[in-house]
């Protein structure tokens, strides 16, 4: 684990850890809604630490700036078309999120722009992880397809694991999230 590398002992963190989960997608375009619907599952999940912010970002881009700029760690949930079998999950982190081609997602144009805009504005960097699923269908509709619905719980678990890891880095061994997940 990273905190075993000893860095945390000498470097004083300038900002307290603030974790945010951002769901993206259009609720009316079938599998495109997977990120949004998963944030709702997370909000209802008692294991989610109360200090984690959950935002339904919908299809907004720059309007999200004011909602995430005090965040230190951002976990994005979205449908990502990366040419895999429908329902295949994917994970993308750090600089790779900023570099994702815009055509790969319905919304990432806004997201990668957001990252670059924050750099231009000299705002503090946000550690970012994208958890995505290959959609099957993004036409008009309000129900996920079976292939995508089947991985929703996996997304929830992966999100909680990532949050536990971040909380752990931020507050050493006192992490509420890790304690909450101990039995999971």
């Amino acid at each position: 684990m990273k905190d075993l590398e000893g860095k945390g002992l000498t470097e004083t963190p300038t900002r307290p850890t603030r974790i945010c989960i951002l769901g993206l997608g259009n609720l009316m375009r079938t599998d495109d809604a997977v990120g949004m619907l998963t944030t709702r599952l997370l909000e209802a999940d008692p294991r989610l630490p109360s200090d984690v912010t959950v935002i339904e970002g919908g299809t907004l881009g720059l309007d999200l700036l004011g909602r995430i700029d005090d965040t230190t760690h951002l976990l994005v949930l979205d449908a990502v078309d990366f040419g895999a079998v429908p329902g295949t999950p994917m994970r993308c982190a750090g600089e790779d999120v900023a570099k994702l081609p815009t055509s790969k997602s319905v919304h990432l144009m806004g997201l990668s722009d957001l990252i670059n805009v924050m750099r231009l504005m000299d705002l503090p960097e946000i550690e970012m992880v994208l958890l995505g699923v290959q959609p099957d269908n993004t036409e008009w509709g309000t129900e996920l397809t079976p292939a995508v619905a089947a991985v929703q719980q996996d997304l929830v678990e992966a999100t909680l694991r990532q949050i536990a890891r971040w909380s752990d880095e931020g507050s050493g061994r006192e992490s509420k999230a890790v304690a909450a997940l101990a039995g999971a």
Binding site: L60, D63, G66, T102, V106, H107, G110, V117
Partner: protein, 571 residues
Amino acid sequence: MARVVIDPVTRIEGHLRIEVEVEGSRVTDAWSSGTMFRGIEKILRGRDPREAWIWAQRICGVCTTVHAIASVRAVEDAIGVEVPENATLVRNIIAGTQNVQDHIIHFYHLHALDWVDVTLALKADPAKTSALAQSLSDWPKSSTTYFKAVQDRVKTLVASGQLSLFSSGDWGHPAYKLPPEVNLLAVAHYLEALELQREFIRIHAVLGGKNPHPQTFLVGGMATGMDGNEPNAALNQPTVDLMQDLVKNAKTFVDQVYLPDVVAIAGFYKEWFEYGQGIGNYMAYGDYTTGSIHDPSGFMFPRGVLLGRDLSKVLPLDPGQVAEFVTHSWYTYAEGDQVSKHPAQGETSPKYTGPAPPYDFLHTDDKYSWVKSPRYDGKAMEVGPLARTLIAYASGREQVKTLVDGTLAKLNLPLTALFSTMGRIAARALEASIMVDELSVWVAKLDDNMAHGDVKIHNGEKWNPDSWPKSCAGFGLHEAPRGSLGHWVEIEDKKIANYQAVVPSTWNAGPRDASGQRGAYEASLQGTPIADPSRPLEVLRTVHSFDPCLACAVHVVSADGMLYGRKSLVI
């Protein structure tokens, strides 16, 4: 003769495709095609009308609030309920904030790069930029050091190879005319506008809840908690003070940055006060009152129609005269495709008859768009900030007249210059200035009501569906940032039986009607100069002046169908 095609690349808010025919170096004809089918009407059928707004606000991925407002108004009209003054004020503040926010984002982040060459900003002398900025307004961020720092940040971004937001510009195009210093000034303000908008939109967090899509609308009023002494209420003394501060900052920005920038940039592009004239008919449903929404006499944006650019006569508007054609749209009507239908009797029966993709051209003689063609009293109309400004001016609104006349005087231009591409841009900035003043009045009024113990924000008389007639129908109108928006609802046995939305971009982006009248985009592109057909920047300037909430890519095809150039422009 060549045909230039502008085609979509993303699905964020919808697709727009423009085909223009070019002869010599001018556009001779244009066709506008919305290539996304909006399925909202079908999704709403059978649902509880009280939750229609939750779905309706997802019609557009960017304008979160405008459809929520039109939707609750439509249902309130159908079941017959008036909302308390506080709810009207809160809705005005939410919508007015959206209006100012959208206008700023449009100018700096969606449209500026059609006029501003970022690469030239790197060549600017920061000292000269500073002198220019100080000659334009009292805005404090105007030192040489400041502009040098901005220039360095942009240099770093360009050097990293990740142009990102700036990758869409057509750098080096001969139609860019600004001196390097103006380019640098605009780029600095592009970044400052981002700072402003991320603060300003916090008003929505106060009034609409923690999520970007407001959660506090209710049929009959709002669910925003009001209590001056309650620390947890959405509306109390600290949040009212916060909103006043945010409005004040926005006002300073609009008056000292946005408006002066529009005037400065427009001064270098005066010919664009002649191009892009369009239909010359303007329509506004009107909106923003502190009284009843059923009394247009109290509207801040007056209701009315102007025909043939005649500002001497504002005609009254009757919402019953709105009707949509599908003659050139991929739908059918039971009565045949030559008739038009009022939205209350609206029908959405999709039937695609266009070419199978991939294709070079649409069948523009036949059906060629997913957008219907709305008409008012049989006539094509332009809607939006320019329409509203002209109607307010022609209605004799003093504040609007003073602002319009003063701005045109600075540019030494006549009133008729407003009928143009640059006129749309100027009208948007003038409207933001008027709206930001009014926002502060509404917040003060809310504060005053709270101080007098008036905290009623919801009228629950008709909340119970048992109190509704077995069948009823209504409509809700709103002046959204992009123009006149209408929702029509029909309720049967407490459920939605039919739902139709006629959005601003339908009025402006719609195709020809049964008699061949062009839509607003189509008409405005006639005569547009094209310096280089492989890079039709000028077409984008006029289309973008309408603030289409659409994303476009451009590729150019010669008249014989042979592809000779392709370029993506993601806006």
